[in-house]
C-alpha cells in the first residue's frame, strides 16, 4: 500500500518508537512518585541511554541496507525492549542500584524524579513536534495533488 510505505519510511518509525518509549517511561515515573512514601519500595526505571542505543542500532542497520530512507525499521527484541504484535513497546524496568535508603527502606529521590519527568516530557514533546511536522509535509503533498 502506498500510504503504508509512506508511513513506515523515513523518520516516522523511529519517532513512533521514541513516543512509545517516553509514554512508557512516564508511567514508571508516575509510579515512582505515587510510591514516594511506601515502605520497602524500590524505584523502577528504564535507562533512556539504553533505549537510544537500541534505537540507533536499528537505524544504523537500516542505513547499511537501504540508505536509511526506505524499508521498515527492524528493532531487535531484547530483554529490556520488546515490540509486541500490536506495536506496543514493552519495557522491562529495573531497580537502579544506589540511592540512599530512608528509614522505611525506600530509596526515594524526589529531585531526581522531577528532573527525569521534565526530561522525559521534553523528549516526548520533541518527538511529537517532529512527527507533526512530518504529517504537515504529508498533508501539503496530498493537498497539492488534488
Amino acid at each position: 500500500m502506498l500510504l503504508d510505505s509512506i508511513l513506515s519510511s523515513g523518520a516516522l518509525p523511529s519517532l513512533e518508537r521514541s513516543i512509545r518509549f517516553a509514554a512508557g517511561r512516564q508511567k514508571l515515573i508516575a509510579h515512582n512518585i505515587a510510591n514516594i512514601s511506601t515502605p520497602n519500595f524500590q524505584q523502577k526505571d528504564v535507562a533512556p541511554e539504553d533505549f537510544q542505543a537500541w534505537l540507533s542500532e536499528a537505524i544504523q542497520s537500516l542505513r547499511k541496507h537501504t540508505g536509511g530512507m526506505h524499508g521498515p525499521l527492524r528493532t531487535q527484541q531484547t530483554r529490556q525492549f520488546r515490540t509486541l504484535r500490536n506495536g506496543t513497546l514493552e519495557l522491562d524496568p529495573q531497580s537502579p542500584a544506589g540511592g540512599v535508603l530512608a528509614h522505611d527502606r525506600n530509596n526515594r529521590d524526589l529531585e531526581q524524579l522531577m528532573q527525569d519527568m521534565t526530561e522525559n516530557l521534553g523528549a516526548y514533546r520533541l518527538a511529537t513536534d517532529l512527527m507533526r511536522s512530518q504529517m504537515d509535509i504529508l498533508r501539503v503533498s496530498i493537498t497539492q495533488r488534488v
Partner: protein, 138 residues
C-alpha cells in the same frame, strides 16, 4: 497514557487518606471514651501504604500505583496524666491519655501534602503529554 493518570490518581487518593487519618488523630488528641461511652483512650492510627493498585481496571495497571493496605493502630504506650479527681483515674490517681503527638502529626501532614503535590505535578506532565499527542491529529 490514560493508565498513567490512574497511577497519579492512586497516589493522590492514598495521600489524601493519610491526611484524613492524621486529621482524625489530631481531632482525637484528647479522646478518652470510645463510641459506646466506655473508658478506652484513643490510640493513634497509622495508614500503611503498599505498592500496586488493586482497584485498577486492567491487570497491567494493578502492578503500578499505590494503595492503602491497612490503617493500623499505634501500639506505643499511652501517656499518663496525674488527675486524681477524674472519674477515670486509677488507684494512683493517673488517667491514660491518647498517644497522639501533635508535632509528629504536623510533620506527617506536611509530608503528605508535599507528596500529594508531587503526584499533582506528575498528573500535570501527563496531561501535557496527552494534549501534545492530541495535537498530532488536528
Amino acid at each position: 497514557m490514560y493508565g498513567t493518570l490512574d497511577i497519579s490518581t492512586s497516589g493522590m487518593v492514598a495521600q489524601r487518606t493519610r491526611l484524613d487519618v492524621i486529621s482524625a488523630n489530631i481531632a482525637n488528641k484528647g479522646t478518652l471514651l470510645d463510641a459506646q461511652g466506655q473508658y478506652s483512650p484513643y490510640r493513634r492510627r497509622i495508614a500503611y501504604f503498599a505498592a500496586g493498585n488493586p482497584n485498577a481496571a486492567s491487570r497491567g495497571g494493578q502492578a503500578l500505583g499505590v494503595h492503602v493496605a491497612e490503617i493500623g493502630q499505634d501500639q506505643s504506650p499511652l501517656t499518663l496524666k496525674y488527675a486524681p479527681n477524674s472519674p477515670y483515674a486509677d488507684e494512683a490517681g493517673y488517667i491514660r491519655q491518647p498517644n497522639v503527638d501533635t508535632t509528629t502529626e504536623q510533620i506527617d501532614a506536611m509530608e503528605a501534602v508535599r507528596a500529594y503535590e508531587a503526584n499533582v505535578a506528575a498528573a500535570e506532565a501527563t496531561k501535557q503529554m496527552l494534549a501534545q499527542s492530541l495535537r498530532l491529529i488536528t
